[in-house]
């Protein structure tokens, strides 16, 4: 057998510059992360025995899960209406959703604060649903910050689907609801999973709108990002780094789960389920 000749391919100048820039970016991001983790790991055992830290972890997980569920339940029908129906004011609706996505979170939080401080907010308070300065407010803030992203992700996924398959399903007797649940949603499965993980991760890290609508009170409305903010404000850098490390661990876990769930579905693999 002949020895393979090694080909010495020198990268061109542009590729070389791209590689150098990429490496610099990676080094910069990694060093920022490592500096927090290195500082935080030492104080992690102490932080994990603190009631306050556990309160913020539980509150973050709870609010993020509820707001993500609400986002999913809203984003799917909205995306469906925008892509599969001739709804009135469709273009205007799309512009409003896009606009929400471009607003700084502090501004969005301010909008929510004004809305829920209005007679509408008073009405909600009177019927027992307090928003401003409460845990409900955290969920509302996370929901409004994430909803436009969730809608956009699902809308893009629905637009990329072959609409003809739903029409064929309709010809075979499926109602619009059945077309959505048996054809559209299963085929958009990976995009929906990505949307859920991304929305949940963003909700865990939400701070700006929450700060405006709810403020941060220790052991009442203290989420993980709020805990970091409070710790830094009081000069407790070690606790802040420990909380940041916990957030980082949660994000990594979400990323791993997302990648695992986003593997190509079995029906696109040659051999299918049976491996034939």
């Amino acid at each position: 057998m002949k020895n393979k000749k090694k080909i010495n391919r020198k990268p061109d100048t542009f590729s070389l510059i791209s590689i150098i820039i990429t490496l610099l970016v990676i080094v910069f991001i990694s060093s920022a992360i490592i500096s927090v983790v290195a500082g935080g790991v030492a104080y992690l055992p102490e932080a994990l025995t603190s009631r306050e830290t556990w309160f913020s972890i539980k509150l973050s997980l709870k609010t993020a899960t509820i707001s993500t569920t609400l986002c999913v339940l809203t984003a799917i029908p909205v995306a469906y209406a925008l892509t599969r129906t001739e709804m009135p004011l469709k273009k205007l609706s799309e512009i409003i959703i896009e606009l929400m996505m471009c607003l700084p979170y502090l501004v969005l939080g301010l909008c929510l604060l004004i809305l829920f401080s209005s007679p509408f907010g008073d009405f909600l308070r009177d019927i027992g649903f307090k928003v401003v300065f409460t845990v409900n407010g955290i969920i509302i803030a996370q929901y409004f910050v994430n909803l436009p992203f969730a809608i956009r992700m699902i809308r893009t996924a629905f637009m990329q689907m072959d609409e003809r398959l739903e029409v064929i399903a309709g010809m075979l007797g499926a109602s619009k609801w059945k077309q959505m649940t048996t054809i559209l949603l299963p085929l958009a499965r990976n995009s929906i999973i990505s949307m859920i993980i991304l929305t949940w991760s963003r909700a865990i890290g939400e701070f700006g709108a929450t700060l405006m609508l709810v403020g941060i009170t220790r052991m009442r409305t203290e989420t993980l990002p709020g805990s970091i903010y409070l710790s830094i404000s009081t000069g407790d850098t070690k606790r802040a780094m420990a909380s940041a490390t916990i957030m980082l661990v949660i994000s990594v876990a979400a990323l791993i789960i997302s990648n695992k769930l986003n593997e190509p579905p079995k029906y696109y693999r040659i051999g299918g389920e049976d491996g034939k």
């Binding site: 029409v167 010809m171 499926a174 085929l187 029906y267 299918g272 389920e273």
Partner: protein
């Protein structure tokens, strides 16, 4: 014999494309071919018949004497098979075939019976558990046919169903279409750009060019008649 399909002055616009006006009658139990170049509007005509563009066309379509505007697509009792089969990629062959039966709330035991019969008839029993991505083009077309036929459609619409198949498989499919026609007695309208395919399968052929149904002719007289310049150019190449 009564008409399965009656089309009077049908006109429809899809983007920049205009179809019609089209007038056509297809008799019950007939095999009718729509022959034409790519982009002549053959698929749009089939899709309009199937109800894809309900309320978007002018003129009349009657299916067995009933106004098509009054019949929602899922109650038209029509089967539709696309060139690329249009199978649901996330379902196995048998799940694809069972889909319509499930939507019509057919009991599970009856579904199993019907699947066994149709897969045997179309020689796809061995691939029942496989996904569309893992079977051949011919098997995909047979599965799509089975999915439609299992509902006993009165009208079967086929959109260039054999164009992606190799010549040997195509010949087999011709035989199968004829046997399906004999077994199920359904009216078949199929679209093709292949003259010999149209002549082999159909009793009559309609020639469509530039969104117009130029002429309708008996299949065996396709090359005997004289036509206008457009049709002559199309037929003589």
């Amino acid at each position: 014999m009564r008409n399965a399909i009656e089309i009077n002055n049908l006109e429809i616009k899809r983007g920049g494309f205009e179809l019609g006006p089209i007038n056509l009658n297809v008799e019950e139990g007939e095999i009718f071919a729509i022959l034409g170049r790519t982009g002549s509007g053959k698929t749009v005509l089939l899709e309009t018949l199937a109800g894809f563009y309900q309320d978007q066309y002018d003129g009349d379509i009657k299916l067995f004497g009933e106004d098509a505007q009054e019949i929602p697509p899922h109650t038209r009792n029509m089967g539709f098979v696309y060139q690329d089969s249009g199978l649901f990629p996330h379902m196995t062959v048998e799940q694809n075939i069972a889909y319509g039966l499930k939507m019509h709330n057919v009991p599970a035991a009856e579904i199993e019976e019907k699947i066994a019969y149709i897969t045997d008839l179309l020689s796809i029993t061995k691939i029942r558990k496989q996904y569309p991505a893992t079977i051949s083009g011919g098997e995909r077309q047979r599965t799509a046919l089975a999915r439609s036929l299992v509902l006993n459609p009165k009208i079967l619409l086929l959109d260039e169903p054999f164009s992606a198949l190799d010549p040997a498989t195509r010949q087999k499919m011709y035989t199968e279409i004829n046997s399906i026609h004999d077994n199920f007695g359904c009216t078949i309208v199929f679209v093709t750009h292949d003259f010999s395919e149209a002549q082999k399968l159909a009793g009559r052929i309609g020639i469509m060019l530039h969104g117009q149904l130029k002429t309708v002719v008996d299949a065996d007289k396709l090359f005997e008649n004289t036509y206008d310049e457009d049709v002559e150019m199309f037929l003589r190449g």
